[in-house]
């Protein structure tokens, strides 16, 4: 039991904007009206937020684990978590180890994370890694948009069957939802090609287009009643002029719910690297007039990182551009991933446009319930740098100071200097917690309301938002004080949320021969057994069909 008294509470899910309120937490780690006894935290003069929720990050599974192996030089210079009698050691940096991932997220007040790209084939592996990420609760999304068994169904016009295939995969992977990456493009990459035009048939298919995949997969997610809509990484990531593709993609989503991942990488004008510019204003306009879609920024921060994405073609291009290390991993029948270490530099015009674009999206999309804090960790920057972004959002002066360091040629390519908006604490609480929780359909997260999970972060009031958000005074996870003044007190096991969509009884029989044709493992050994998921909790599916 725990009481938090006297703090200034920001709880957007319940419309509370900086009121002094008391919170009570019961022994089950949930908010209740009141409790008798237990510890009391006097939060007088402090700021109280719901625990952060990361809607899009890459913290577990084959790809990030590949990145870990590729960056020993980063591990040598990064923050280490020293072993204590009860706590495992770990390394932070660009691709933190699992234990360190939990410590770092909790250390800045984030208590729920969504691993946004899991191939079913490595789902077993991903769940093992997620189990080794302490403190935070987890969800994971399954990569579907390049799955050949499903694409074949769509090609043949078998929508219902495609839906069943998706449902089968989600349950086999013990996943929370659907991630679509570069629809059709990764499948084409397996022949060294890409899919850039939404209306052109993809390599290896007669009729099926990326646009067709987008529309139908979004509908499938709604029809299956998944708590989180299609989580879409659009085609043509990172390419100058890709705003046209992105806007076209959005039109294909009309009528469906959708979450657009890391929009920053999809909001460029120009027709080459020299002419590349920000077109975030156009994209923000679309969001401002379409309240049923959400996005995360995928903001870029200057400095070293490692880029990992299921977008193999983009990674090969990046490897050729940078001449640095390149890892690539194609996964049979399902997807692929590429890994390239990268340094974003303010002196580099393209990087400068990217940096500005991420912030522009966060500032130009009016409704904070539609655009969330993310760096597409580790692609645009590491998640543990979120407090820097918060500072950039809360202080126009600080933004101006940073903008001055960009090359002169940036003039006319970005709109950031003209944007005066400053986030309020309430808006930050929406963008880092209440908004992403709502988009993920996690109704018990991102809220300090009665019955919700008692994930709370308490800050000392500070004029410097980066310092304030980087160093919470207390972090409470499920009613347990896990961080106090920077010390990790407890490292409880987090939970994993997953869905069990309705499946036709004959789908197994349908899948088996197709599976055996494509895969190299036994059909029976493919689904992850429920008992392999530590602290699993099944979330309900509710139909979103129009």
């Amino acid at each position: 039991m725990l009481r938090i008294t006297g703090g200034k509470v920001y709880d957007p899910a319940n419309g509370i904007d900086g009121e002094v309120r008391d919170l009570a937490i019961d022994d089950h780690g949930r908010f209740v009206e009141s409790v008798d006894g237990g510890r009391t935290i006097d939060a007088t003069g402090m700021i109280v937020f719901p625990g952060g929720v990361d809607v899009h990050t890459h913290v577990a599974g084959g790809a990030i684990n590949f990145a870990r192996a590729m960056t020993p030089e980063d591990h040598r210079r990064t923050q280490a978590f020293i072993r204590t009698k009860s706590r495992r050691s770990g390394l932070g940096g660009m691709a933190p180890t699992t234990f360190a991932t939990g410590y770092l997220y909790a250390g800045m007040g984030w208590t729920t994370v969504n691993e946004a790209a899991v191939p079913v084939l490595s789902a077993r592996h991903t769940h093992e890694e997620l189990a080794d990420i302490p403190i935070v609760d987890k969800t994971s999304l399954t990569l579907m948009a390049n799955n050949e068994i499903m694409l074949d169904q769509l090609e043949q016009g078998e929508y219902e069957r495609a839906k069943q295939v998706v449902a089968w995969y989600l349950w086999a992977a013990k996943s929370y939802g659907v991630k679509a990456v570069n629809p059709g493009g990764v499948a084409a990459w397996k022949w060294g090609k890409d899919a850039k035009q939404l209306a052109s048939p993809i390599e290896g298919y007669k009729k099926l287009t990326p646009g067709g995949i987008v529309t139908q997969l979004a509908r499938i997610c709604d029809d299956l009643g998944l708590p989180h809509p299609i989580h879409l990484h659009c085609n043509n990531l990172g390419a100058p002029g890709n705003i046209a593709t992105t806007l076209d993609t959005l039109k294909h989503l009309e009528g469906s719910r959708a979450h657009i991942a890391h929009s920053q990488y999809h909001a460029y004008g120009g027709d080459g690297w020299d002419t590349m510019c920000s077109e975030t204003a156009q994209l923000a306009d679309y969001f401002n007039t379409h309240p049923n879609i959400t996005t995360d920024a995928g903001a870029v921060l200057f400095g070293d990182t490692v880029t990992i994405t299921a977008d193999g073609p983009w990674q090969h291009l990046l490897y050729k551009l940078t001449g640095r290390k390149w890892g690539n991993l194609d996964v049979e029948n399902e997807t692929g991933c590429g890994i390239v270490p990268y340094t974003y530099r303010p002196s580099n015009l393209v990087n400068a446009v990217q940096w500005a674009s991420g912030l522009e999206l966060l500032l130009l999309i009016q409704n904070p319930w539609q655009v969330f804090l993310s760096t597409d960790h580790p692609n645009g920057g590491c998640f543990w740098r979120y407090p820097e972004i918060i500072k950039l959002l809360m202080s126009a002066d600080f933004r101006k100071e940073c903008t001055r360091k960009l090359p002169d040629k940036i003039k006319g390519k970005i709109t950031l200097p003209e944007v005066d908006r400053e986030y309020t604490l309430y808006e930050i609480a929406v963008s880092m917690s209440a908004g992403p929780a709502k988009a993920l359909g996690l109704s018990h997260k991102g809220s300090l309301g009665i019955g919700c999970d008692a994930d709370v972060v308490i800050y000392n009031q500070d004029d410097d938002p980066a310092r304030m958000f980087g160093h919470p005074r207390y972090v409470i996870k499920g009613g347990e004080v896990v961080i106090e003044e920077g010390d990790i007190l407890e490292t409880p096991q987090g939970r994993e949320f997953l869905v069990k969509p309705a499946r036709d009884p004959d789908i197994d029989a349908f899948m088996r021969p197709r599976f055996e044709e494509c895969y190299t493992m036994s059909f029976e050994n493919y689904p992850v057994e429920m008992e392999r998921i530590e602290h699993a909790e099944i979330r309900e599916c509710i139909s979103h069909a129009p």
Partner: protein, 115 residues
């Protein structure tokens, strides 16, 4: 007694890790490993559930499991630079425990890969 059958069993002899093996066994010994290669067949048929070895040896003498575990813990705990090595022929679950062991001991951790 008729033999029991396990379908889609996984062979861990080599890096192929074939998972389509059909094993016929009588709880003590595996009599047939269908679809396994020569190496896999030998692997499955050469192991039994018989008690052929002592539970443990400490300084060359037979010992109980409890004694051996205590002796192992004491020796590892006393060392200034203990090494945890191997992990080829074992499960991931045991490998995780090995990594935890090296972490807890402040020692060295290495696998066959480094050879």
């Amino acid at each position: 007694m008729s033999l029991q059958v396990i379908d889609n069993a996984t062979c861990t002899f080599c890096g192929c890790v074939c998972d389509d093996i059909q094993l016929h066994h009588d709880e003590v010994r595996i009599h047939e490993a269908k679809r396994a290669c020569v190496l896999g067949t030998a692997w499955f048929l050469n192991h039994t559930a018989e008690k052929k070895h002592p539970d443990a040896l400490v300084d060359g003498r037979e010992a109980s499991l409890d004694e051996a575990i205590e002796a192992a813990a004491a020796l590892l705990h006393a060392a200034d630079m203990p090494l945890v090595y191997g992990m080829s022929n074992t499960t991931c679950e045991a490998q995780k425990q090995c990594a935890a062991l090296a972490d807890q001991l402040g020692g060295l951790l290495d696998s066959h890969t480094s050879l």
